[in-house]
């Protein structure tokens, strides 16, 4: 001990400073999903086109679940990425039309193009609550067994696609081959 203890306040100060410094760079908006590694919540709804849809209609391979709405401007920003993915057949994309009106949603798809295999209509946001959604856009990565494996909140552009989704999807596909 001896003189060493006089340095304790200094060491303490630096430890606290480091902790708070790190805190400056945390995103308080980042809300960890509770549904990672949980199966997709059960639903019995209809599509934007009025067809009945349940969990059994979901693709039996790795797919994206994109929460969107015609009122949602960031959804337009990420829209070209989803168009490209669906045109190139890279991965099926299922839409969740979150708290929207049917005719507005249909109009939006007509004007901007429809990248979705189908869009589940969640007019009152009840399915969104089961998913833990707090606002469009959000995108979930679901594996072949219907288990949610990844969630991205806000715009999914080409950078996010390349940096976050491609590696995650490669991993999931390798998994299902084994």
């Amino acid at each position: 001990m001896g003189r060493v203890k006089y340095f304790f306040p200094v060491i303490g100060f630096f430890a606290l400073a480091l902790l708070l410094w790190r805190g400056l760079y945390l995103d308080p908006k980042e809300l960890p999903s509770m549904l990672i590694d949980k199966p997709m919540p059960a639903f019995e709804l209809s599509t934007v086109d009025g067809e009945p849809v349940t969990n059994t209609d979901l693709p039996d391979q790795v797919f994206l679940l994109n929460v969107w709405g015609s009122y949602c401007l960031p959804c337009l920003v990420e829209h070209p990425t989803f168009m490209r993915l669906s045109e190139e057949g890279e991965i099926p994309v299922v839409g969740v039309n979150y708290k929207d009106e049917t005719n507005l949603a249909q109009g939006w798809l007509e004007t901007n193009g429809n990248p979705f295999a189908f869009s589940i209509e969640d007019g009152n946001g009840r399915f969104g609550i089961d998913l833990g959604v707090y606002g469009a856009p959000e995108t979930y990565l679901v594996d072949a067994n219907g288990v949610i494996r990844y969630r991205h909140v806000s715009v999914l552009d080409e950078t996010v696609w390349a940096e976050e989704f491609l590696p995650a999807i490669a991993e999931l596909r390798a998994e299902s081959v084994q």
Binding site: P28, K29, L31, P32, S33, M34, L35, K99, N124, G125, R126, G128, I129, D130, L131, G132, V133, Y134, G135
Partner: protein, 168 residues
């Protein structure tokens, strides 16, 4: 600016201060007027539970507002769900569990006591204990110095007496 100039400006400043106070008053009133939903309850107990739950749950979308005060879409939906669950006879614990399963600890203004939240709950206590220990040991040492060095032993007493005597 000299003092005279400040004085002559003072009435203006006072008025500005008044206006600012009024603005804050308005803001306060705005924040207090919660979102008004027309939910109907069978008993006042149900109504109180609804109010308590939506006061203590945090809106997932808007960072620092409870469900009561938020006009966000998801907050509106969650209030509707709370109402439905209360009317379905679910307990507060069940409703909180429902929220936790979907939105995690984020939703609680009063986080649950779990392994992950131990530091949050007891961290301040630990800091208080450390601070208390340091303060205690410093004061004990100070007292010890007091006793050791300010109380004279008999030889020192004698010497002091000698000195006093020789002066007198």
């Amino acid at each position: 600016m000299n003092i005279q100039a400040i004085r002559s400006k003072a009435p203006g400043l006072m008025q500005l201060f008044g206006v600012i106070c009024m603005l804050f008053g308005l803001l306060g009133a705005g924040a207090l007027s919660a979102q008004v939903d027309t939910f109907e309850f069978e008993t006042t107990e149900q109504q109180q539970r609804f109010r308590k739950l939506s006061d203590e749950l945090r809106c997932p979308m808007c960072q620092n507002t409870n469900l009561t005060g938020s006009s966000g879409g998801v907050a509106e939906d969650l209030r509707r769900e709370i109402h439905r669950m209360i009317m379905d006879g679910m307990t507060d614990q069940e409703i909180e569990q429902f929220m936790f399963e979907r939105y995690g600890d984020f939703i609680f203004y009063r986080p649950r006591l779990r392994q992950e939240t131990l530091l949050l709950w007891f961290g301040p206590l630990a800091f208080l204990a450390i601070g208390g220990f340091v303060a205690f040991s410093i004061s004990r040492r100070a007292r010890k110095i007091d006793e050791d060095e300010t109380v004279l032993n008999s030889a020192q007493q004698e010497k002091l007496q000698d000195l006093l005597n020789s002066k007198g």
